[in-house]
Symmetry: C2
Subunit: 333 residues, 2 copies
């Protein structure tokens, strides 16, 4: 049986897994993404995490059929490079990530993919995709990532599709981190929500958000902090989350009106953290915008949770038993 | 060579064509849609128009391989019925349109499809689809119809997809004819534009729109009236068209950010009338909302113009030479 490695590279964490042909996790390791240095340091930390996961699975990295990587930035699998991963330290240029990992780990095959795309492919192949052939993936985190899965396959058009976070929901609305106005991410991205919370605190509004941040010794409002503030009925947190819900629900309803997909699948740091109650809240908020109100899609939480990105990365590896990228649901499980 | 019939049934006109295997039009007839009576009267008018088109092609209707129909309302090809075509007189219930036409015309095969879908299929198979494999069709008329063509095939999801007119562009915005708020059609549908123009005239604003309507003896603001008012620099017409452009462009940009299609294709009564200058204007307005500004899609005018719906309907007919519905571009032309 061939084992495969998968690494999800994020702005704050590196998640590595080693899986078998049935996609069962045989080893896993989570590490902090280096906050200093540059791409070679990050590649070394990725290799270390993968090595620990392989160790747990009882194999050497060189025994793996290959390693797949889900990465932010501009990812080019053909050349094995990642460029402009601006959430990562010193990664403004292009770096030969596949070569670095191949050399460090002694594996033959290293495959690269976009991080959100990998997570969506994993859900399609071995997660919610078993129940929903076509869905909109909403990855609610620092930004708002997206993916469109149609009949089990990810649709990216000319290569840049999937940007659900940049769906317009309010003409002349708030500025998005991308520079445009009124996009979903301008209201729902954790980064945008944090900036808005800070503005309101600076104007004298009472909120426990930044006190919680200080108590936890964090430098940003994590998913856990938002959740705790909501649990305590913090009014600023409540209002900003409601604003985010309205934006995501409005954008998702537009996609449903256009594509009539089976489901909307909620993932990402905030999405996974808030879970099914939030999926239900989104479903309710979508109703006011649906053209065919009587046939709403299901709103589900990503099944693979935090491991989705790494599992999706592992699916990039070609083996005799596993099909080529991107995996089709019929071939999985 | 097999000849096929196609009928586009609209709220104001019936367009019939007879085409050959190369999709060349051998006969055509346009008629007014009856404004009184009910479905049987409309079916009779459709048969009369088709008979005239067949006559022009030098054949009897019974010589045709079949007749396809693009219809508004809820269209069910399996049962041959059309229900709830509320723009047509007395058509609130269900009517066996296929049976009526079969009996009247003596043809064996009558196939039904949604009107916008038929026009989009025609563009995909024998119109702009030859240049653009994937596109968003925007049918700008009384309402704003839509269609998504991906790799040459129309995508409708669970059967109700394509509703581009019901894309949210302004949270809490203007009420749409569908009852929801902030949809593209609430700003860009001709019906909504006319209602808004009337409001502004009633408030004392100067506009030539309704004077032109009276001069032309019409009971609504037709595409031609809007065009003439724009040509004369009518300020109300200018503002309302600009508002429509912003809504369509915002919605279309969101679709491009998500699906990264090759092109946006402008059709429908107003779209065809305004033509390529309007397509260029939409392209410019989309730029402010695109996530990847450097790779905009092309914005094209539907190639088949006014005949698109009827040509699309003719493609529904199965012949030995022509493929099954929906037609794929590869098999056409």
């Amino acid at each position: 049986m061939a084992l495969r490695g998968g690494i999800d590279l994020g702005g704050t964490k590196i998640q590595a897994v080693v899986v078998d042909d049935d996609h069962d996790v045989r080893g896993q390791q989570r590490a902090q993404t280096p906050l200093k240095g540059g791409p070679p340091d990050i590649a070394a930390a990725m290799a270390t995490a993968l090595r620990a996961a392989a160790d747990q699975a009882g194999v050497a990295p060189s025994d793996l059929a290959g390693v797949g990587v889900g990465s932010p930035g501009q990812v080019d699998d053909a050349t094995g490079t990642v460029a402009s991963a601006r959430n990562l330290p010193g990664w403004d240029g292009s770096f030969a990530l596949a070569d670095a990992l191949r050399a460090d780990l002694g594996v033959m095959q290293v495959r690269l993919s976009n991080d959100v795309g990998a997570a969506a492919d994993a859900e399609a192949a071995i997660g919610v995709g078993r129940a929903a052939r076509s869905f909109l993936g909403v990855f609610w985190g620092t930004g708002v990532g997206g993916a469109v899965i149609l009949d089990g396959k990810r649709w990216t058009g000319r290569g840049f599709g999937g940007e659900f976070g940049h769906t317009l929901v309010k003409l002349g609305g708030a500025q998005c981190p991308c520079g445009k106005h009124g996009h979903v991410e301008a209201y729902a991205g954790r980064k945008a929500m944090e900036a808005r919370a800070r503005e309101r605190m600076d104007k004298g509004e009472k909120t426990m958000l930044f006190k919680l941040m200080a108590e936890k010794g964090r430098d940003r409002l994590t998913s856990g902090i938002w959740e705790k503030a909501l649990r305590h009925g913090d009014p600023v947190a409540e209002e900003l989350v409601e604003r985010a819900v309205q934006a995501i629900a409005g954008g998702a309803a537009s996609v449903v009106n256009l594509l009539d997909v089976d489901a909307v699948v909620l993932g990402g740091g905030l999405g996974i953290r808030f879970g099914q109650p939030m999926a239900d809240r989104l479903a309710a908020a979508m109703q006011q915008h649906l053209f065919v109100e009587s046939r709403p899609p299901r709103v589900l939480v990503a099944e693979l949770g935090d491991l989705g990105g790494a599992l999706g990365a592992s699916l990039l590896v070609r083996t005799a038993a596993a099909p080529a990228t991107p995996p089709a649901p019929a071939a999985a499980g």
